[in-house]
């Protein structure tokens, strides 16, 4: 009997590993094989075109440079804002903290295209911030940019908001993880709060900060949905892939995608390998050796005053209000204004009611179909991913290669989704398997690629934070056979991680734009529909769809909070 279980277990494990390889790992690397296999095609289209020469290559270079500039700047700002934010969320004690906490993670579940549109409304029109200040226009223009680096302000703003949680959340978790006694020890030895932060907390959380900011950089590099809406005339690499694919410049799009994947790897993988397992770094004592320590401490003394702590908290609240709450409010407000008619022209045709529900060629049926598609895709890909993820977590935890596998699973999370989409399309489509064409099924398969890692990570978080391993061992000595073990111990204990992961994966899938655009064929999802609406200037319809997306994400956020608080 026991040997039968053991054999069955082995077969299951192999099947899971194969599924992971096919559904998760292969789509995220397949695109690279495009370069050597189709080199002639690439050369013809990009480097050596009889008509335009190497314009293609020049274009690729320019979008890559712009993208990197944008994401590096985004990551830097994330770090600057993220450290105080995480600090206050981890250590501060004030009313409304849990609301702030929710606000920070809201961009994680908010469909980016909808959020991009909401931000656009609140900054560039008088329906948002402009109206608040009594202006006739928005406070900034979509084309306003930061002078030296040549980056549109609005684009930067959206990227910072969307990637900030990737820095704040791990950092906050790490801060909370640091034993309180270490901080107390530092204080009682004579260090003021600021010095304690610099000398104790920072070195202990530098790895978390580093991996968080790299993640933010990668997400910014791959951001598509919001970028398509707010970038104006600028174009990032991730968006370029979608656009060029639409123009049937498959080789150019694929080449750029492969380059993006390779460069993301080049940044992320060495870092993942390098990050010490102990989770801290030991900093050289440069300040002390130069005897500058004393002066720095005097400065820190001032910064540690209670006044600066109040300023810090106020800063955090205002920041989050502007970045996260404002877009939601302006969208709701605008939707209210646009409900019956266009508030400026007074035309019925410019109102939401008409555009969605009444117009014969209207967006109503398109929107309801898109919602259905979105839910089918999100539900299916999440369900399948959960089935793969649970056993996968056990494999990761049990075997020596688990650590490597876990690192590999991070790839789909960091590579730009539009590159992932093109890779997935080529893999399942004509270039290899040739079994799925663009449409609902391909979207589902593509979404599974990032759903599995998302779910695996949240299950692992619960797994490693509990004594489930020991409980399983104990249950076995008490006589539980493998099936009973799974049913009575493992699944109930992992429930929280599974549910959180599933909801995260569901919202991810709901909000995904970059890959979906490429693999959807004619089956629009809500978030891709929003982009299309904005591009065809159907503002009221876009407003309404965005509002729906915001409502969905708020509901899911609420569910996550309830589960986490259990």
């Amino acid at each position: 009997m026991a040997s039968l279980y053991r054999k069955g277990g082995l077969i299951l494990k192999i099947a899971i590993l194969i599924a992971t390889a096919v559904f998760v790992l292969m789509p995220s690397v397949f695109l690279i094989s495009f370069i050597p296999v189709n080199w002639d095609e690439i050369r013809y289209e990009i480097f050596d075109n009889p008509i335009v020469g190497d314009t293609g290559w020049k274009l690729i270079q320019s979008v890559l440079i712009f993208s990197f500039k944008l994401s590096i700047l985004t990551a830097l700002i994330d770090v600057c804002l993220g450290i105080p934010l995480a600090y206050i969320l981890a250590y501060g004690r004030f009313p409304g903290k849990s609301i702030l906490d929710t606000l920070v993670s809201l961009p994680l579940v908010m469909p980016t295209s909808g959020f991009g549109f909401a931000t656009l409304i609140s900054w560039t029109t008088n329906l948002g911030l402009g109206g608040l200040f009594g202006l006739k226009t928005g406070v900034i223009d979509i084309t306003s940019k930061i002078p030296v680096v040549d980056i549109p302000i609005l684009l930067l703003l959206v990227h910072v908001t969307l990637t900030l949680p990737y820095v704040v959340k791990p950092l906050q978790a790490r801060f909370i993880d640091i034993k309180p006694s270490l901080l107390e020890a530092s204080r009682i030895l004579g260090a003021n709060p600021f010095t304690s932060f610099r000398k104790v907390i920072l070195p202990l959380s530098l790895p978390a900060l580093l991996s968080g900011s790299i993640m933010a950089l990668a997400r910014s590099l791959g951001e598509t949905g919001a970028t398509m809406i707010v970038s104006g005339t600028y174009i990032t690499a991730a968006v370029a892939i979608v656009r060029w694919e639409f123009e049937f410049k498959i080789a150019t799009a694929s080449f750029l995608g492969a380059l993006l994947i390779l460069s993301t790897w080049a940044i992320v993988l060495p870092l993942e390998m390098m990050l010490s397992r102990k989770g801290w770094v030991s900093l050289p004592k440069i300040l002390a050796r130069l005897d500058l320590e004393r002066r720095v401490i005097v400065l820190e003394e001032v910064l540690s005053s209670s006044l600066s702590s109040i300023i810090g908290k106020a800063f955090v609240v205002i920041l989050l209000l502007i970045l996260v709450v404002l877009p939601i409010f302006s969208t709701s407000y605008s939707a209210f204004l646009y409900w019956g008619k266009d508030p400026f022209t007074g035309k019925m045709e410019g109102g939401i009611l008409y555009q969605i529900f009444m117009s014969p060629a209207g967006y109503g049926s398109l929107l309801s179909r898109a919602i259905l598609t979105s839910f089918i895709v999100a539900g299916l890909s999440t369900f399948l991913s959960v089935c793969i993820s649970i056993p996968l977590v056990y494999i990761i935890e049990e075997y020596g290669f688990g650590r490597v596998l876990r690192t590999l699973l991070k790839i789909p999370l960091v590579i730009p989704t539009s590159a992932l989409g093109i890779s997935s399309m080529l893999l399942w489509g004509p270039r290899l398997f040739n079994i799925v064409t663009p449409g609902v099924w391909l979207i589902t398969l593509t979404h599974m690629t990032f759903s599995v890692p998302v779910i695996v990570e949240s299950i692992i978080a619960v797994f490693e934070g509990s004594d489930i391993r020991d409980c399983e061992d104990v249950a076995r000595t008490l006589g539980a056979k493998p099936m009973e073990l799974a049913e009575l111990i493992s699944i109930p204990m992992l429930k929280r991680g599974i549910l959180t992961g599933a909801i995260l994966s569901f919202t991810h899938s709901l909000g995904e734009t970059g890959a979906t655009f490429i693999v959807m064929g004619g089956d629009y999802t809500v978030s891709t529909l929003v982009v299309t609406m904005v591009e065809s200037l159907a503002i009221p319809a876009a407003l309404f769809s965005t509002l729906i997306l915001i409502v969905f994400s708020l509901v899911f956020m609420g569910i996550v909070k309830v589960i986490a608080g259990e």
Binding site: A2, D467, D470, C471, D473, V474, A475, R476, T477, L478, G479, A480, K481, E484, L488, I489, P492, M493, K495
Partner: protein, 372 residues
């Protein structure tokens, strides 16, 4: 001996490093067997191997004569009590205790009866509907014990069952633990790093260090004939000196760190005598309760001057910390009643030459783990 549990030549390696080295012992039916050793000795690994959670790299295990090495834990039928209790937090106390009966497929009426019995034995009936995280440490300990007992297993494996509790509670539960094991007639293998606990509970003790079982026996046997310095040091409050042999025939030694602290020893056995080589270094152990104030000045006694550095109260009496007059050797002396000498007084103290035990100097490393 009717051996119920037999372990022979168990080896276990973790990433190439042996953590259990050639472990063999036998436990008879109904015996309370304690494995005693410092943290990191390999005790928990040994217990997990017995429970079947960890499989040994070499060696055999027999329970009631049946080989067990390839039997998975769910078919071994042992009651395992993990160090950190590992209660199922998603189940009530009742469901926790019922769990082994449920998975065994025991008739529900019968299961309820056993479960009730166990809970009332542990004074937990009124908390049956609570969840483990709502209970105090002492109660959780009882739930874990009830759960292990409910398996009906004859062999109980207890991994530091009292270490997570307050000192006072831990002492009280010792007695309870033993009486429960006795009254239910279970065979127990109990792992601990606490000597007092081992002494109070054990029929026999196995002293473990560094992956080896050094010696197995009753506490009296271990105290009377400790196999090496580690056993001697670990089981009792003993003064340990390093000393050079000045005269092997007379047993005259001189403390290694203290030129004028000289004393004589009279080894009781051959092995020890052979350690006394002229000019060689040995380890000398003298129990703190055999040192007396104002000893008789005959040839059977070592007499020396000392200064009282500290007088500390303890439950059994007083501990005097003395310093030899001419150097830095510290000596601990335990007595029943407070004496007329205070801190700073010069006193004459001594011990019988036959009360000192000697060991090879190479054993010194084995007691240095505490980094004194």
């Amino acid at each position: 001996m009717n051996s119920f549990l037999k372990i022979s030549n168990i080896w276990k390696y973790y990433s190439g490093r042996p953590v259990l080295k050639d472990i063999s012992f036998e436990v008879s039916r109904g015996e309370y067997f304690v494995v005693l050793g410092p943290t990191g000795a390999g005790k928990t690994t040994l217990l997990k191997i017995l429970a079947g959670i960890v499989s040994p790299d070499k060696g055999e295990i027999y329970i009631d004569g049946k080989p067990m090495v390839n039997v998975p834990p769910e078919e071994r039928g042992v009651g395992y009590f993990p160090q950190f209790f590992n209660l199922f937090n998603h189940m009530t106390v009742w469901d926790n205790v019922c769990f082994p009966l449920l998975v065994k497929g025991i008739d529900i009426v019968e299961a309820e009866k056993i479960c009730k019995e166990m809970l009332s034995l542990m004074h937990l009936l009124d908390r049956a509907d609570s969840y483990p995280y709502e209970l105090s440490g002492g109660m959780r300990q009882r739930v874990a014990l009830a759960r292990a007992l409910a398996t009906g297993a004859e062999l109980l494996l207890l991994d530091e069952p009292l270490s997570q509790l307050d000192a006072k509670l831990s002492v009280e539960l010792r007695e309870e633990l033993k009486s429960i094991a006795r009254s239910l007639g279970r065979t127990v293998v109990h792992v601990t790093n606490n000597v007092e606990e081992a002494v109070e509970l054990a029929d026999r003790i196995a002293v473990m260090n560094n992956g080896y079982i050094i010696q197995v026996g009753s506490y009296d046997e271990l105290r009377r004939k400790p196999k090496n310095l580690f056993v001697e040091y670990f089981l009792s409050d003993v003064n340990v000196f390093r000393a050079y042999v000045l005269d092997p025939h007379d047993g005259l030694l001189r403390s290694s760190s203290d030129v004028c602290f000289k004393f004589r020893v009279k080894p009781l056995c051959e092995d020890a005598s052979s350690l006394l080589r002229s000019g060689g270094e040995v380890i000398v152990c003298v129990d703190s309760d055999v040192i007396v104030l104002d000893p008789p000045s005959d040839s059977g006694w070592n007499v020396f001057d000392a200064i009282v550095e500290e007088v500390l109260f303890h439950r059994g009496g007083y501990t005097y910390i003395l310093k030899t007059c001419c150097g830095a050797t510290k000596i601990m002396m335990k007595v029943m009643d407070e004496m007329e000498v205070g801190i700073g007084c010069k006193v004459k103290v001594g011990f019988k030459t036959s009360d000192a035990r000697i060991y090879d100097v190479s054993e010194y490393d084995s007691i240095l783990y505490h980094g004194g």
